[in-house]
Amino acid sequence: MPFILDLYTILHDNWLLLLIGSYPNGPLGGIVCTLILSVVGIGLAFPLSVLMAMARLSPWRLLRWPATALVYVVRGVPLLMVILWVYFLVPVLIGRNVSGFTTMLCTLVIYEGAYLSEVVRAGIQALPRGQMEAARALGHSHLGAMWSVILPQALYNMLPSMLSQFVSTIKETTLGYVINVQELTFAANQINNQLLTKPFHVFFILAVSYFVVCWSLTQLTQWLERRIASKRRGIAPKPSTKARAASVTLESPT
């Protein structure tokens, strides 16, 4: 019981720090910072990953080789290494200091972009070849067919995988801690440094916070997977067209 009481006290005294960090007196931090990093990171990584996947599948070596090289490098290097490289190298390259947040965001975009591009590439390659052939036979250009026929299907099919990648990203933001990004882990550590005697309590709260966010997203992923699977079987209607689908079900043979 005292454990739970202590947890309550810690949360009661520090919830704002865990939620938004020292904002507005300092940079926006806590779980909001974690989520902003993840959402913006994935948000920027996504278009990059689509371009990289298309470059990876391109018949032109000039596009294919650099994209392939980047993917192999990123897959072969731990994220922490990339963070340190960006942290120390980028200021040298551009001649001025960059905030930890920006460093972390750039790192995530490169790193997640490379991983997501493999997801997108798999999604494109998993489609039957006949889809591209049919589009080309109708006169669409390669890019036109990608845009109107291939990508809408591939990205839709890959939604669950992309959401899993988002969950990984949330967990990877914790590494921002080493370059002083004031995200959730940083905030928890601040609290721990104040209290000094309750590390187990503090990091228990931290673990539960991450778990709740990631677990909910995983549940969402599974729900999406089921929905997509049933749609592929031709059972589930398109969203927002219940009435129309009902009439179709009535008419359809079988």
């Binding site: 006949g130 052939e133 589009a135 036979a137 109708l138 006169g139 669409h140 026929v149 031709g234 043979p253």
Partner: protein, 244 residues
Amino acid sequence: MITFSNVNKWYGDYRALTDINAEVKKGEVVVVCGPSGSGKSTLIRTVNRLEEIKSGQLLFDGHDIQAPMSSYQLNQLRSRIGFVFQSFNLFPHLSVLENIMLSPMKVRGIRRADAKTRAMELLERVGLSAKASAYPAQLSGGQQQRVAIARALAMEPPAMLFDEPTSALDPEMVGEVLAVMRGLAKDGMTMMCVTHEMNFAREVADRVWFMDAGCILETAAPETFFRSPQHPRAQRFLSDLRSH
């Protein structure tokens, strides 16, 4: 309309097409038949350059298919060659109507409203107006293939190519697709069909091309071909067909 002159195609060391010389005239219905692996599908796929040829010349509606051209020109040329696949290849993320409207809008730049009117007319023609808002997965194989035909017709092609359009269908659905194709033939469409439906060939075709091992061994009017095939391989093929 479609002219093959000395067309040769190789897959590595394997010669897929050997010295093809043949012509599909305007308004003519040609059925290409022959045993599996004889090169029928390869032949029909060379017409819109889904398969590249090694040598020879291929004319479609006066255009040299093989001539060096920009990818834009190739796409415009392809858009005028109606092609129907064995496996339908409808776009599953689009409704039936959108499947038909997509290419006229994207490739030809036709306005949405006009594309829709035209698509509805075509659905009427293949007998599927009621399914306009359905998705491909909700249709039977026969219905999907009829939509695929409507989709090809939406580009107003001067000729239609059919690559085994009924081979992936359950037997009871073959008839509805052949009926649509018959209708097209009656309206004077130039057609080149790879098919195993010999009754269709007998009734609808103006010419039958018999292929084996990458060569056209015999071309004849269907009544002649089915009554008295000349080439021994064609005789054996037809008697194999009759024996079951």
